[in-house]
Amino acid sequence: MQRQRLFKRVTAKVMLLAVTVSAFSSMSFSQTPFEDAVKQLNSDLVKGYLQPFINSASANINAGHYSTAQIADMGFTLRLQVVGSGTIIGDAEKTYTATPPEPFTQNPVETATVFGEQGASVSHPAGMTYYFQNGQIKASIFPSVVPQLTVGNLFGTQAVVRYASIPEFHDFPRSTLFGIGAQHSISRYLPDVPVDLAVGIYYNNFSVGDFIESRAMCYGAHVSKSFSIITAYGGLQYQTASMDVNYTYTGQGSTPNSTISLQLESEVNVVATIGLDFNLGILHINGDANFGKVTALSGGIGFGI
């Protein structure tokens, strides 16, 4: 009985972890607070309100694909990991500049993003006050987690696959994440270089309900050096992410069924990575930091060879 209770508790924690995969895009129209906050925003405001969220989500989804540049030319690699990422939410991610709607004075004000505190307010001589939407996510680190499978090696190449299909869970609608990529050894062409070199390309797609669909690509150059069971690794990558947001705007001035369709681009493009990997036989543990417009930390625990 105690073992069953422990398993249930652990499973609940993992479910909570799994939910965070969709937490950064839980914007389907099943009325989560996140959705409610967004649907009040016209297209001019939603970009500023959500941009830090998109930056953080893309930084998370583009992190954690590799933990070494050492790839044997031929051999068998099969590794299952849980990869967690978290973007540090600083002050810059908490505010943006917005213009109030008419009839309020059209002077830009600094107000809260989705990660911010309370929204700004502007007053009108007639005794009216307009309040911008409040922040809805209070986080010092914005997290996500995803399972990842690495397979190889074929001519110095390994493939990486990510997949998570999360059923509707409390306030979060059904979410699906799929990612695929490959890492190819450059050291096989430059065997005299004292460090391991590789390049990688990765694609990720995730969708939540009918509200959001996002696509991310990253292209990277990787380097690593192993010292016994410890591998120091790093890289430089160029990444893009776009997020299609579709919702029915119900704010002031809207007409029935006025749909807003936007494509929002992540501002996180060039990222430098530095990390450490611990190879403990079939257990692999790694952690890295990814520096770009935002800073994302990622770590993985995996099993395999």
Partner: protein, 186 residues
Amino acid sequence: MHHAFVRWFLSLSALCAPLLLASCELATNPLLFDGSPLIANFTVNTTGNSFSGSNTINLNNVVSGIELDVDSVSVINVSIIIDSLSGGTLASTTISGTGSIDGHTLVTLSGVALSTFSSERSIFDPSLSAAGVTYGSDGISYVNNMLEHPESLPSSTSIAVSGTASQSGLHFKAHIKLYTQVFTHP
């Protein structure tokens, strides 16, 4: 053995939770909504040059469709549209009069052409003051005072218009729209 491995893997995964979920809280601040606009419609059909009418709105409809607990509501805009001119009513016809809510003046018009409101315009538009439109702070205060207590809003609030025109034989429709912002409990 298989179950033990799965449980061990899940346990290790769960160890990440405290790190990944550090200081991450959702829905920490009250949500703001734009309330459903309330519209009072008036149809003017008269052979003379004066008009008047009264309509009722239900302030409770402001929070319709909002499932969260409402803390308060406030007015953020009032607009007017005058359309459906017919029967020889000219767009250049000017009108003078008032729009009020439960007797408290919302807007005063002094020689305002019907065409001024051929498209929806806020009564607070500063460019309208030169056209003879003056908003009524008394009416705004009155509505805001009622909306501060959304739990006890009246189901029937009177919107009235009255005035005279520069032309006899008036045939048009006027619509007064009330926009609000709704504050919910966190």
